[in-house]
């Protein structure tokens, strides 16, 4: 019972991190580690992402 609740909690956290894009940072760090390059700061990384969003607006429907 507790294990199931814990699993569900993990699942929800995983989903929210993915949906909000927070997990992109983890992915980026992992990628840097694999390619053995120095990662940029989180601030710069997020700026980079928002700059991309600035140039590629996403429509919201009715």
């Amino acid at each position: 019972m507790r294990a199931a609740a814990l699993r569900a909690g993990h699942g929800i956290r995983w989903y929210l991190r993915q949906v909000t894009g927070e997990a992109k940072w983890d992915l980026y760090l992992e990628g840097c580690l694999n390619d053995d390059v120095e990662p940029m700061s989180r601030r710069d990384f997020e700026r980079h992402r928002s700059e991309h969003l600035n140039k590629n607006p996403r429509a919201r429907c009715c």
Binding site: Y15, Y28, R43, S50, R58
Partner: protein, 735 residues
Amino acid sequence: MSTVTSPDQTGRKMTPKSMVVWGAVALVGAVCWAMLALSRGENVSALWILFAALSSYAIAYRFYARFITYRVLGTDNTRATPAERLQNGADFDVTDRRVLFGHHFAAIAGAGPLVGPVLAAQMGYLPGTIWIIVGVIFAGAVQDMVVLFFSMRRNGKSLGQMVREEIGTIGGIAALIAVFSIMIILLAVLALVVVNALALSPWGVFSIGLTIPIALFMGFYLRYLRPGRVMEVTAIGVTLLLAAIIGGNYVEQLGLADVLTLTPNNLVYALVIYGFVASILPVWMLLAPRDYLSTFMKVGVIALLAVGLVIARPVLENQAVTKFALDGTGPVFSGKLFPFVFITIACGALSGFHALIASGTTPKMIGKESQVRMIGYGGMLMESFVAISALIAASVINQGLYFAINSPAGATGGTPGAAANFIGTLGFTISPADLTAAAHSIHEITLISRTGGAPTLAFGISLVFTKAFGGGLAAFWYHFAIMFEALFILTAVDAGTRVGRFMLQDTIGNVWPRYADISWKPASWSASAVVVGLWGYMLYVGVNDPLGGINQLFPLFGISNQLLAAIALALCVTLVLKHGKARYVWVPGIALAWDLIVTMTASWEKVFSSNPKIGFFAQRSTYQAALDNGKLLKPAKTMDQMQQIITNSTVDGVLMALFAVLTLIVIASAIPVWVKAAKLGGLPTTEVPRQPSHLVDAAEIFATPQEKEAIREYQTTQRELAASKRELAGSGRSR
């Protein structure tokens, strides 16, 4: 091994267990539909509608969507998707199917599926229910999935691009103009809904107004304080949002009630300024944080509403079919059931706008081809469910009150006494005291002629929540629901203005390249001003229309949205034929045929009907004739208003004709392609040639045990690969 063969693809026979399960689902559906068809009069539970919808969706998803995915489209999970081939971490990015479902749903679902069904409730609950459920299964979800698939096979090309390349240049230009102008109407109608919800509502203005500083705070928090912590800042934002809703109750004590009681015209100016500023600010400041809030509220309220309906089990106050369905004299919008129910409920049954999303970001993020089923078809079923919930919420309200809220001010006269009289002439009874009491129960000044759907829906939601969760919080729930709608309408207005601005810059950039530079301020500012000016004008027209803006503009919006769907479905038909699958052309074909019948009838009536309540030009000549004779015609009270009606009907009529002609141009240029493709058994298309996929992922919502095993195996190899690469790099450096 790159994929696991799922039983779905091999066309294996159903197991006895699944036969029993699906037999039971079919039985539940049949019983619910029978109850809806047969019970008349008192005490029909809303749950019959809810469960008729859910079981129909389940069956459609299991059987029809599967047939389309594997037979008609022939998805191939050994073929690499653009996300896999072109992965760049930005546009092209393999995204978990469940996460992508969330993104896609948040992008397609907005105020549309909430407003349309509320207005269509004037014809009774049955026509709307049938159209929402049957329409989504055979038209809306099919369109979304098929466009998504074809765009995915073309590296995520947009609808306009695909029409140009697969149908022809003229069709492509017509589609582009249609998309842009329909977007303007959409933004104007959505903004009109907000204006009607917030006018004379200091509480609403207070809480919605506060969303701007809240979003700005979130933006700065994410930019400077703790970059990237979206969940944390959303939690803070939602808390502040709830505080803003509760705080609205105290506007009187704070002495703000007078300042915040805005007239519709003041709200128009506020929205136009807001729309302009929001669309030129960098997205991190306002748009992105707002989007987090509105998505959270959207999903939260929808889930809460579904739970609330099941707990409250409300009884439908609405009739199954009202007399307005048959005689076409309804006050909310004019015209008979056919074709007007089918264009009033666009989103939720069939929405052309979705084709823009399905050929935008979503196709660039799909990991496996067969996932188009859950994302395209499944996402639209979910939106349809939202529409059904809205229809129920509008149908549990006292019908006298429903018509008092939704009839234009020209009809109700605006005062409780006059409104009660008017409701009496419609054949319903409600006393002036009850009208006032209803408004006071949710701390509003008045509910009379609060058209646009939002106040009705909010009132219905508040009834359901109060019954389900108790606590006498009717006023809080009402404003909570208004906030929920206004929030994502404003997000759609921001985002839509921005998209419109980019489209305009891109188009003008074809002749004047510098104008396309999105970082060049004179271009971006002027393009934004043009877009805002266009929808702002339509909004102003709608707000001041003596005949009622919603009454006049909503049909225009519904028809144009469905005309866009006709363009998208024509593209689907073209591609099915070009790919040599003429035997399956009926799948998009029946949706297209029905949609054309409905929209062409509706636009014909709107343009040519001799009934001034329906035909825009008949309306124009009636009022013009009266004006020439120096006479006033109701509901106009002054000669200025007469002139206003004449101008508005002309603008609306011309736009209506323009949209219909643009669609016909696309269809006309597609027909020769259809004939040729059918004759030759196929034609070359711009589909990207097959490349093998190396990615392992599940094909459907739930991974099978074999798929889970394969995914685990794949992930282990990927990790080992990365580790060995790291080791190699490490040893390389130490040398």
